[in-house]
């Protein structure tokens, strides 16, 4: 049992479930088989439940006071799956969850190699604000990822419809444009307040920890740029009635910037948030 719940084995099991769900989901989409898709979504849900149980059982506590890049990526995957699951329940569309399973699979593949690279979090960072900062940003990033996938699908479908070209056989079951736009919109409307909360918490927390609200850290700068873009989309959606292509494209930009923030800054740049520095 202990070996099953070890970080490596649990990661492997979840990875297998997500891999099965992702591959079966794609197969279900290609074959236009609803049953296969539902089975795949159910397996993905099992993977999510397993990951949740493991998180709550706190196996990461084994690396007390530590934070690994692997755990960070797995948390990201968990939030992506959470969003996919919510969409499945809410709008009865399993496709976001299946895409989420594929994305989580990729994140898990990266996480498997870096679970042991534990970086100990300083005691000064143990505070509710820090948890809120991380939690809010994680959820908002997961929403950004979901809206990116929905936005890409929207742009593709929109382009095909505008050009009056038929969809490839395996994409015939793509959700309707309105549904994709609705996913994108929901992710924006929910994600922006969360992202704002995360950023504000970080800025407030930075003063006692680093001596200044803005320290010129690359992560701070890129986060503010993302926030500004996010704010524009939020404003456009709420006040200007933006729909369709424009917000989908801008959300894709936000996702690319977020990816750069997560991978580029955290791994390769000299930052408070870099795993090499924490």
């Amino acid at each position: 049992m202990t070996s099953l719940l070890s970080p490596a084995s649990s990661t492997l099991l979840t990875l297998v479930l997500y891999a099965f769900a992702g591959v079966a989901g794609m197969l279900g989409m290609i074959l236009k088989n609803q049953t296969i898709r539902v089975v795949a979504a159910t397996v993905a849900t099992c993977g999510f439940i397993l990951q949740t149980v493991i998180l709550f059982m706190g196996f990461h506590a084994q690396t007390a006071g530590g934070l690994s890049l692997g755990a960070y990526l797995q948390m990201m995957a968990w939030f992506v799956m959470l969003c996919g699951l919510v969409l499945w329940i809410k709008i009865h569309q399993e496709i976001p969850l299946l895409f989420g399973a594929l994305l989580s699979l990729v994140l898990f593949c990266f996480s498997a190699r870096s679970l042991q690279l534990v970086v100990h979090v300083p005691g000064s960072l143990h505070a509710p604000f820090y948890a809120l900062h991380i939690g809010a940003l994680y959820i908002s990033l997961a929403l950004i990822a979901i809206s990116f996938v929905a936005g890409l699908a929207f742009l593709y479908l929109d382009q095909r419809l505008k050009a009056r070209k038929p969809l490839p056989h395996f994409l015939r079951d793509l959700p309707a444009l309105n549904i994709l736009d609705s996913i994108n919109s929901t992710a924006t409307l929910a994600g922006f307040p969360l992202f704002t909360t995360g950023i504000v918490c970080g800025l407030i927390y930075a003063r006692p920890v680093y001596g200044a609200t803005l320290t010129g850290d690359p992560k701070e700068l890129i986060s503010l740029v993302i926030w500004a873009c996010f704010a524009v989309i939020f404003y456009g959606r709420v006040c200007r009635g933006w729909r369709g292509r424009k917000p989908a494209r801008l959300m894709a930009l936000v996702f690319v910037l977020s990816l750069f923030s997560i991978v580029g800054v955290n791994l390769f740049m000299n930052s408070h948030h870099a795993f090499t520095r924490i």
């Binding site: 479908l157 419809l161 505008k162 009056r164 070209k165 038929p166 959700p175 309707a176 444009l177 309105n178 549904i179 736009d181 009635g241 933006w242 729909r243 369709g244 292509r245 424009k246």
Partner: protein
Amino acid sequence: MDCDIVLVGLNYRTAAVDVRERFALVHQTDPENWALPLGGAVHEALILSTCNRVELLAMGTGDVRSQMLSAWAKARQASVQDLEPYTYTYHNDDAVRHLFSVASSLDSMVLGEPQILGQLKQAYRKAAASHATGVILNHLLHKAFSVAKRVRTETAVASSAVSISYAAVELAKRIFGTMNEHRAMLIGAGEMAELAATHLVQNGIAEILVSNRTYSKAEELARFYHGRAVPFEHLNSAFRDVDIVITSTGAPEAIIHAKDIRQVLKARRNRPMFFIDIAVPRDVDPDVNGLDNIYLYDIDDLKEVVEENRASRRGEAIKAEGIVEEEMVSFRDWLARLNVQPTIKQLVQIGQDTICDEVERTMRRLGSTDETLKEALECMGQALVKKFLHAPISYLKEGDSAEHSRHILTIQQVFNLDGHCQSRFAQSKHAESQEEDGLQFPAFSCSCTADRAESGEQAKENAGTQEADKASSCSKDKPCTCCQGTQEGLCHA
């Protein structure tokens, strides 16, 4: 004399919508403006002009195709060179097969859609009203209608009947997902619009608005679908609450423009709109498709859905094509049998004349005027001739058209019929009353009984003269064209 059935046309596969607009024969199918006058090479004609195809079907001799193309181009004030590249031509069996496929909706953009049969019937009514159809096309068209019915009942090709409007609803679902939160507007209250409304209602559309230049028509249709009529002048303001617009008017130019829709989009906060323009000429300016959140499909753009349907119904279509092939062969047989009709008629006539002559002769010999006896003799004669002619008539009907020619010649030689058999098509007017399998022996009408109320002597004298004439008409010295003198004295040519 050989006659051809020729079909010249263009359709959605060979010509884009603008070309079809240019060469559409809308008013030219009306009797007063009939575009394909008979005469010259064309003996019978029919014009089918729908939004997806323009086809001219004709029966005639010689260069039928050229005459059809010239008349068509002339009707549209274009040159044959402009028209010809977009057209296809089918002859005889191929033309019949194509017509049956069209009637059965196997050649339609949306496989199995039911409208084409109605349109073909309408085209036939107009051609008949223009006195442009004759025996061949009448039979061909009726056969086409029965083939279409057979295809519908014996295959599942039209089990979930699809049409342009159905394809439109499928596309609407791809944009909006479900229909129950959306409103649709139908502009134009024709058959197509009504079908669209039916599909939308079946898919749970929240409300249907109907607009028409004739407000009463809009009201009538709106009432039928529990919808709302909108005055034609208020279209743009009504667009604010409408998500799907299906236009099917007969307007000669666009009635919906991009600049108007840009304003509408602002008012509706960019909620998407879907325009289905099934009118030819188009009702919606193509620039409208360039606007964000606006999707415009004209009749050609519906090909995508059509192809999808085609693929899923391929199996049934193969079955339906089998029926078409079978019926085409049946029509060919009928046509071939039409060729033997004059010979059969001649045979029957000879039989009748023989009965008439022999009954008269017998009555004279008996010196009787008893009508009962005469009727009994006539009945007996009828029965004998009927039995006697059964074998040669069956022989004539056997085989294909090539064999028919040989059989006709044989029978004509054996029975000494008139060698100058009239063409089947010239004779066809007379054969109109005779259905393919219903060749009837005409009711006995002996012309001699009343008109030849001659005395016995006169009759004998006349008979003698006739025999002498017959004998003298063919001899070794004066051979006839029929037996060349080989049957001297027996030949009645």
